[in-house]
């Protein structure tokens, strides 16, 4: 059931009305019921994988708690807990790896060995990466005694399957999301109003901007030789599409959760205002970044073998560099995982390592940067320097988008070369909008995208400067509010792409 469909809207309305109509103590059961109806509507077979992750993780959590309480011997307790943890991690990440990466392994093997094994037709359960990561995060939290195990299997099943977030996140933490899911909620008109506005805003970003931008993105990235002069336009359009698609989807998801009184973690914080790649990853897909930090980066950095490497590096390279090198290595591992998470292809591995290497290099150079800035009397508060940092980061991010969107690494590199050597803006009006209409509406589509981006930019700029836009909305006369709702509602079918080339959300494929 697509998030952009009347069927889905009807589903949400029925779920929300019933949620506040039934006795409060049954609200979480109601949510579980609708979450499973939603997931089963995508196929019964794939639901088995969701149930598998739910049951194995719940059972492992329970066992971890029992061992923590019952086993007195510290060494034995540690060993038994580790066995359960490793087994459950292997089982769940194993399923994810087999379903998602088997064909990548086959094609890579064929490429290296010259063999011609056929790819397998494997099911890929919706949102498998998201619910697996969320569940394994819970498991590690129980293992580290950061959170208590959930005793009720059905309550835990709701945490794994909560329908607004299961397709594309945000990846929730049990300590924050669990409590809210199981609590009873009273209808709050102000929250509902804000949530509805956020849903409409998300649809605006997705349907009016992302789904119009994708037409240019697909045309240019689909025929990079024909549109060789438009490399820069292509990557800018992709950066617009990706942001409005993913953050728009998050607005819809967070807005829907808000209708049930549940506040989800934010996944975006105006990423194109970032002043470094590190800062960018603190603002883009935040819940994946913090997941990677807590469950991969810190454990790898603090592992025994990394400690040995740290001692060795300090001896060889001196205290400062030796201290930073193991962190850089762990960071590269994290971004390798991030790259693989994005997809089963070499271009995603290059994308991940590109980000990881920039952050590692910045980490190593940080003390020198500080000295250079002092010597040149450059302050971080200097507006010019701040703008320079934003533009520099934006360029670096856009280079990474070439790898992310182009068909393969070779095409990405070729497009980057053409972007500089064959830049020709006049080609833009030759991009066809559909087979039938040709180029007759190209300029109109461009105007819609640019106007939409301007609106998003202005709102982002106000938020970046700490303006309270929710408060501003609350203070408006009810007539103004109605006009805002009606305006957004009417803009969607008038300027948006409800179907056709655009289709679903990019991150719903993960």
């Amino acid at each position: 059931m697509s998030l952009i469909s009347m069927k889905f809207l009807l589903f949400v309305i029925v779920a929300a009305v019933g949620y506040y109509w039934i006795p409060k103590k049954y609200q979480w059961i109601w949510l579980l019921l609708f979450s499973y109806i939603y997931y089963v509507s995508g196929g019964l077979k794939v639901t088995c994988f969701l149930a598998f992750t739910t049951i194995t993780t719940w059972f492992a959590g329970m066992r971890l708690e029992v061992i923590t309480q019952a086993e007195q011997d510290k060494t034995k307790r540690k060993r038994r807990k580790k066995q359960i943890l490793v087994l459950t991690l292997l089982l769940n990440f194993g399923v994810l790896a087999v379903l998602k990466y088997t064909n990548f392994a086959i094609t890579t093997y064929n490429l290296i060995s010259g063999a011609s094994y056929r790819e397998l037709s494997l099911l890929l359960p919706l949102g498998i990466s998201f619910y697996t990561f969320q569940s394994m995060g819970y498991l590690l939290d129980v293992y580290w005694d950061r959170t208590k195990a959930e005793h009720n299997l059905f309550r835990f099943a709701l945490f794994v399957s909560f329908f607004p977030q299961i397709l594309q996140g945000p990846i929730g933490r049990f300590s924050r999301l669990g409590e809210q899911l199981y609590a009873s909620h009273r209808f709050d008109l102000q929250k509902a109003e804000r949530s509805l506005l956020r849903i409409l805003w998300g649809y605006f970003k997705k349907m009016v901007i992302a789904d119009n931008a994708v037409i240019f993105v697909n045309a240019i990235f689909g025929e990079p030789e024909r549109y060789s002069g438009l490399g820069i336009i292509a990557v800018l359009a992709y950066s617009i599409q990706l942001y409005c698609d993913f953050s728009g989807g998050m607005d819809v998801v967070i807005g829907i959760a808000g209708l049930f009184g549940i506040q989800m973690d934010e996944n975006f914080k105006r990423p194109y205002f970032a002043i470094s790649i590190t800062d960018f990853w603190h603002r883009w897909h935040i819940t994946l970044g913090t997941w990677m930090k807590d469950y991969v980066f810190y454990p790898v950095s603090l592992s025994g073998w990394m400690k040995h490497f740290s001692k060795f590096a300090k001896k060889v390279f001196g205290k400062q560099t030796g201290r930073t090198l193991p962190i850089c290595l762990a960071n590269l591992i994290v971004f390798l995982v991030v790259g693989i998470w994005h997809g089963a292809a070499w271009k995603f591995i290059v994308y991940g390592l590109y980000n990881g290497m920039i952050i590692a290099f910045s980490g190593l150079m940080a003390p020198r940067y500080r000295k250079w800035k002092q010597a040149l009397h450059i302050s971080d508060n200097n507006p010019g320097f701040h703008l320079f940092q934003i533009l520099r980061t934006f360029v670096l991010v856009n280079i990474s988008w070439f790898f992310d969107r182009a068909d393969d690494v070779g095409t990405a590199l070729r497009m980057m070369k053409y972007a500089v050597t064959r830049f020709d803006l006049s080609q833009l009006l030759t991009v066809q909008i559909g087979e039938a209409s040709g180029t007759a509406y190209t300029l109109i589509f461009l105007i819609v995208i640019v106007a939409g981006c301007l609106v998003v930019f202005l709102i982002s700029l106000l938020q970046e400067h700490g303006r309270d836009l929710d408060g501003f909305y609350d203070r408006q006369h009810w007539l103004v509010k109605c006009m805002l709702f009606a305006g957004l509602f009417l803009l969607l079918p008038a300027l948006g792409q409800p179907s056709g080339e655009a289709g679903g959300f990019i991150y719903a494929q993960f």
Partner: protein, 75 residues
Amino acid sequence: MDKLLEILEDIQPDADYENCETLIDDGILDSFAILSIVSELQDEFEITITPSQVIPENFNSAKALWAMVQRLKED
């Protein structure tokens, strides 16, 4: 405590470690800085810091960090 402050100053010089209680919440210490501090604390005080201890509650202020060091030394 003086040694701890020295380590913090060395790794991330421009912060008010005596008074600040939001070193993590306000993003003053990023993950690179946190792990550099962990590395130095482990060497200096001969303690082992595990991922479960790397939480904002333990790193938000110099006092909290010092309390964690004391706790781990007793273990």
